[in-house]
Symmetry: C2
Subunit: 252 residues, 2 copies
């Protein structure tokens, strides 16, 4: 596999980081590890000077190319593989991995898909609402004491991804083009509408069922075509039950 092509499909997404220095540090380590796409979810990019110190001169140009999004769903729209990072193990019913195995998992997928690795704020990490977009979560193995600095967590992940992609043995077969986050979110919206229309879910049990359904589909790695089939069936259910106009959740 072409390592550089795989690295070009990888992005680091910093979700609401509090400390501008950590953005600079992330830019520096990402560039060191051949990852040049950096996204920030937040109101705006902090003052350049506050980030530039830790980015150092060499990585400063990356700061000018950071993609800023107010909403996580917008940031993730064109990514097909979304990885959350967390310090906590076993709390989530998601595919759990660690940076080393993540690199092995992503290597074949990056042939034809864009992947985003998400890092949450320094104090709280990613929320459940952030994690709902994720197809798997990666936790860095640590001794009993587990509290990694944001910049260090980014460093260890970038290092493992780079190292893993340098050494990955991927056969020449074709790898599936997975649905991107935009297509999946649209599918989930129709799915929720359809499940409401048949009174399977309501405001009380919505979070429980939608979380489980998201994780189920997350594990299954749907292609664009798969997602479209599910979406079309749900649309039909909605049309059949109540007439599409009144409850169409919108076609994002």
């Amino acid at each position: 596999m072409n390592r550089d092509a795989a690295l070009a499909n990888l992005a680091i997404v910093l979700v609401r980081p509090k400390n501008p220095e950590n953005i600079g540090s992330a830019a520096r380590i990402a560039l060191n590890m051949g990852i040049e796409r950096l996204l920030l979810v937040g109101e705006h990019l902090p003052e350049r000077e506050l980030m530039a110190k830790t980015a150092t001169h060499n990585a400063a140009h990356l700061l000018d190319r950071i993609e800023v999004h107010r909403r996580l769903d917008e940031a993730l729209a064109d990514f097909s593989v979304i990885v959350g990072t967390t310090a906590r193990h076993g709390r989530l019913r998601m595919v759990e991995t660690n940076p080393r195995h993540l690199a092995e998992t992503l290597a074949p997928l990056l042939k034809s898909n864009r992947a985003a690795v998400l890092f949450g704020p320094e104090d709280t990490g990613l929320t459940n609402d952030d994690l709902k977009f994720c197809h798997m979560v990666s936790a860095i193995p640590t001794a009993d004491f587990s509290s990694l600095n944001l910049a260090q967590a980014v460093a260890i992940h970038c290092y493992e991804l780079y190292y893993g992609l340098c050494h990955a043995k991927i056969d020449a077969g074709t790898y599936p083009q997975l649905a991107n986050s935009h297509e999946l979110e649209s599918m989930h919206l129709y799915l929720e509408g359809a499940l409401r229309s048949i009174d399977f879910i309501n405001d009380k049990n919505r979070t429980y069922w939608m979380t489980n359904i998201r994780r189920f589909f997350g594990r299954k790695r749907l292609s664009s075509k798969d997602a479209n089939i599910v979406r079309t069936i749900c649309k039909k259910i909605l049309l059949h039950h109540k007439g599409a106009n009144s409850i169409d959740p919108g076609d994002p």
Copy 2:
């Protein structure tokens, strides 16, 4: 192998770090990765407050246990395996490794030896004079752009050492007790004296030959007994040639 026993034989040595925040960061990541021995080579420990911010509350107790040494040779006296870290490849005629292979190499050695991993100052890295104590150097693989932050370099090394020691498969055999740095330095002192006494080395070629000899013995991993044999032979040469009293380099 007992992972915790191996980790207890590992130490991180920060050589003349400029930024106290990096000492705090190093303490935090070391503790996360089960490494609790931290040494500082420098005039004195910076103000606690400057380090504590990045160490965070959890790793603060490690700051009180940092061992401070003015001289690197003193810091390293009781270590038998000494690893330098560098961003530059191929410049040195030393055993070169990377953090992943380093963990594999150290795993069996840590059964009966103390190992120190050295990190140089943020701006210049370890000098040749620092590296002369090292038996191998480890460089983090990076893309073309290579300029890692000190705290990130410490993070990646600690992570790999912890991960490697958690997964190392070491058979139950005995592993050699290697000479420690104090014994090796004493040996080198007598060796230099002996080689001078036979006019093999002089002030002009001293650095060249002693560097090569150090690297040769560094690769060979001498036991305490080996080092003592070499030292005793050199002492005999010195005695034989000129009489020990006049040129005895001192018995450290």
